[in-house]
Symmetry: D3
Subunit: 253 residues, 6 copies
């Protein structure tokens, strides 16, 4: 059960409203990596969760994100208010202006309605925690970009508060994942096919127009990595059961 | 530049077509965690990428996912073919049947058209790699669930191949992230507010209808963690600059 | 600021899980007239609202709808749980099964992702209250239909609770609108053109295949109503300034 | 059966094309509260309607809205035509310019494609009439905002005509609803739970950052209203059957 | 201006309602190739059209498609009516049942809301006519598939009428395109680069798993065709200005 | 199987980045008639195709369109790069700027996420080829409009290359359709009702506000055409079986 207290988690003060910036702020209100997406992703994962301890974590952070939604919405509301009456302001976001009378709604900076397609919820706890870690990293970088586009001190203060909390959540989700004690690349119950997991398929070759190389790095050499060059043109020699048994390799041209 | 070779990356053979299962398979063709989503996410990240080495990695795996798209699409096509003429089969997926004549299209198992809203692309390389690690984990668990819903050996072989490759990619993306040498919770350039990052807001309290606790764990105790209980009802004592300076705490009821 | 208490607003108990019914229940979780739509519509109207008293009303009911979202989500979760492992159950909602592992997500009964396109928010308080009255009426009838499709006593109890609350909200929104003291058909500030408001355009004529009449009723006769028959074929004689001044009426055939 | 007469319901004349305003006008062409939404909502309600008299009303107004769609589309077309060749004009709506060659399409002012998610159709006549009353109120306020953003006399004339007609429709739908003779808060057939309908849940408490109060008004006091303060923290004493029987109230922190 | 006559363009009679078939019929009501898509595509092209003669054609057929929308909607309504009360029927389309009370709405057979993304409108008349010819061909094959899934004589009669009309429209659009007298492959005003238009890029090579060949046909041999094999691996020798001037061909592996 | 070579099919060079134009370019990257739509439409048609020769054609052109996607994406990336740091540039596309860090994503010029709703895939080969011919015509005109909005020589060169290839594809698809040897208006297997195919329904009559006529042309006169004037008001005399047998024609007003 939710209870609402009228004060914001972070009181916002702004100087002169900046409708263009208000429009940008909507990315964190109704955008793909915004606060509603975070609140819904974690809260619904929590609703589905069978692990009582991490369920609490999901509900804690999901609820906090609802509070952030209020903060960022209030901030955007302040910056967008002039779109109600001022035609130049309205042009920064005609949908907010004409359809919303200058009030915020669950759109992103280009007027796309928020959609649950933004959410990543699988019902597999460790997988969901990985999705959440990535989601927090995305939210952090978006707040940073917003901070870089405004000079208003009150706005910056509020965004810095919100930005910092994403790092807090990232730490908490990481701790929760690690405390599950699962091996790093073990997902679900069916094990991957041994050998095949170590094959790196080099499916993009050559040198790019700007000199982009066909690179080697710890993601395809060293350790157990085995390089498979251009699988489209090779008789694959791996021990994969059931792989195509081609005849002579198709000459390219 | 892409070149297409007519053979599949994994030749598929199936026994008796199973339209219900073919419908389920569409999750990995045109679904949120499916192969088109993977192919597009990585390839477009690669197109935008300024790090030449990891750009190659993104293009390698992006291209491989296109090859998986072909494999899973061919498999789904085989299972869905009866929907063209058979009314019972058609009822498993009337959109594929009536609009598509039994052929596959970029829909998920409930007929939703694929949308780029599924993609997570931020243009911040380490953030994108985290999104990719999570994406691979999601794809793995989806393949596992599909395997659990079929008895057809040829179908299982192909799905197991595809499932295994997700783990390979997860390993490669993880190695690429680690090799960037960034501290674990450092995203972008603006540092989070010290102190505030360590505060855990306990915004969900009490005991649930099924005994769900208000839990403690490494995600909110130990290390630098500082617990803030029910921030909605507390005078927050943390050193956060700019936080609301409330008067007497609002009595709850 | 929101605070979450782990108990549900209405504790749910069900008998045997019924995945088909669980799928239907999603209409009230992630559907067009469901609880998330209600929660978001009222809460965001509240965030934008400049009338402090009715702002409180909007936040009260918006928060209650979040609590309903939890209740209906928990109920759907119970009924859908078998979709994780059971293939027949999975066929009732393959998206929940394959992508969600049997957990709920913000979809409707046919797997459409929730979208803010469902919301009606104009930033004009009396208009928003009318939208809310209609929204509550829609939610009530949807709950009634759901009740008619289950025999499970615990499910019926919970749905009856939720259904009743929609009527409560309908009463509250109606009282709030009436207390504003606006004339019934006065919206905004620009008055409608006198005379033209009273003209009823009879643009659908004749008798239908099943005898449907060209009807008269209090919506087009009595009071100030003036009937304009088939305006497409008439020299309109109304005093509307600027209306087309046609020459001889175009003969029909 | 529809028949089309080439003249517009309201002949439009404009002065100098104003592409920015043309873009705004699309809200009423392909937007959420626009004329296609109105035409489709009423006409499809009419198609489904079993009450022959009100079916005629729905078809009359539905058809009139199609005529409004033509008028507003023609007006937008005139204002947007320069987007075909002029780059500054094109920047006001690049989608109309590049994809549409300066012609209108079923988008709103921010390029979102029209979607049937905008429609409210329940197949319960009195409920649908309530939705229609609210829809007309929304359309009225949107026309008013558009009028406030243009100085062009011909444009204003046409918009004033369209705006007035929404009030006409609002009156007609209200008369149709009242003539059904249903009690004001009676929806469908299953009665709400007595007593519970009169409980107002005060789920948002305290005083906001700008002094927003925890308000009382005719929507929660007087008449039969019974106030339930902060239900998340109270032993609910209401006679609701089946409500949670909690033990000692969970202390908050 | 539209005027509505209550009789259908084709009176429909059905035998026993078949909810599963009714669900399939929605493809032609609110689906991608259905009657609303046709009506809107042609009517809006007509609204934008500067060629007075072909504008009339577009409005004629656009209006006829509205009439078809009524016919197919009425037919679907009849077949879907049992979804209101009957749970087995409801399972064929829970969205129609629960949200719509058994009435039709602008969804396709899998519940996707109609979207203007289905439309192809470019504002270039000859291009639009080509889109329309293709649209009619698609609608024809969809009707044919529907006919193959029902045995009900009245339903078949109505569908055959609608199906036939698509061929009529296809003929009319083709005549209108031909009468414009444009060369077959001349689109717009900027001519294609000579020589380059005749190069066929053979970007898919080899032999497929089921023996699919690297084929020749009138689309890549004879006439002016010039074959460019595997451009990804060749020094392109065509006279295209500005094409990449590669050094030695990148060896494949 | 796809293999990726790092060089672009057409190397792009631009002068000064033009973010406004970069935003427009997105129409051909993630827009309705853009390169991803083309690549997916043809490749998936190819995957489903049972005609081995034309399957090769579909895969050839589908793959080439993937290469075009890379070219146009690289071009847009260059023009949009300043949106990362520059606020004026950011205002041209805040979504690319804030959410994407200046990198491209699968959106159109107004930020709509790419959707498979753009695709036209029926699984009926000749129908699909017609859809493809129309799609190429649309893509050509869009490239032409883009060329008209830039002065940058390198950008124009690349766009001219891409534009020309659309004509090449249009020719190839036309040749493939013609080589199937099907009569021009024969779609599928069920023949249209004789006689009815030749009736032109004149459903839009009169003279428009700007003198638009009720026109005659080869699309409704000559050959076998039979004119049916205003079918809504006529006793239809055509030999259509099952047509409505009306009584006396409904007088209009």
């Amino acid at each position: 059960m939710y209870h609402h207290i009228k004060q914001l988690m972070y009181t916002v003060h702004i100087g002169r409203p900046d409708p263009r910036f208000g429009n940008m702020l909507l990315e964190q209100f109704g955008g793909a990596n915004g606060e509603l997406a975070a609140a819904m992703q974690y809260s619904i994962q929590g609703l589905n969760c069978d692990d009582p301890d991490r369920k609490d974590l999901l509900m804690d952070i999901g609820t906090e994100e609802l509070n952030h939604l209020e903060v960022v919405g209030t901030l955007a509301r302040m910056h967008l208010k002039p779109t109600k009456d001022n035609r130049d302001a309205a042009a920064e976001d005609p949908l907010i202006s004409i359809a919303g009378g200058g009030g915020v709604n669950l759109y992103n900076s280009m007027g796309n309605a928020w959609t649950a397609d933004y959410l990543k919820i699988t019902g597999e706890l460790d997988v969901d925690l990985r999705s959440n870690i990535a989601a927090e990293a995305r939210a952090k970088i978006v707040y940073e970009r917003l901070i870089n586009f405004t000079d208003d001190p009150g706005t910056i203060d509020a965004l810095r508060f919100l930005m910092t909390r994403e790092i807090t959540h990232m730490k908490a989700f990481t701790a929760a994942l690690e405390s599950m004690g699962k091996p790093m690349f073990s997902i679900g119950r069916i094990p991957p096919t041994p050998g095949l997991t170590d094959q790196y398929f080099n499916t993009s070759t050559g040198v790019g127009d700007r000199g982009e190389p066909d690179a080697r790095g710890p993601w395809n050499q060293g350790g157990d990595w085995q390089m498979v060059d251009a699988p489209a043109f090779q008789e694959l020699e791996s021990p994969r059961a059931g792989t195509r048994q081609t005849g002579p390799v198709e000459p390219l041209v």
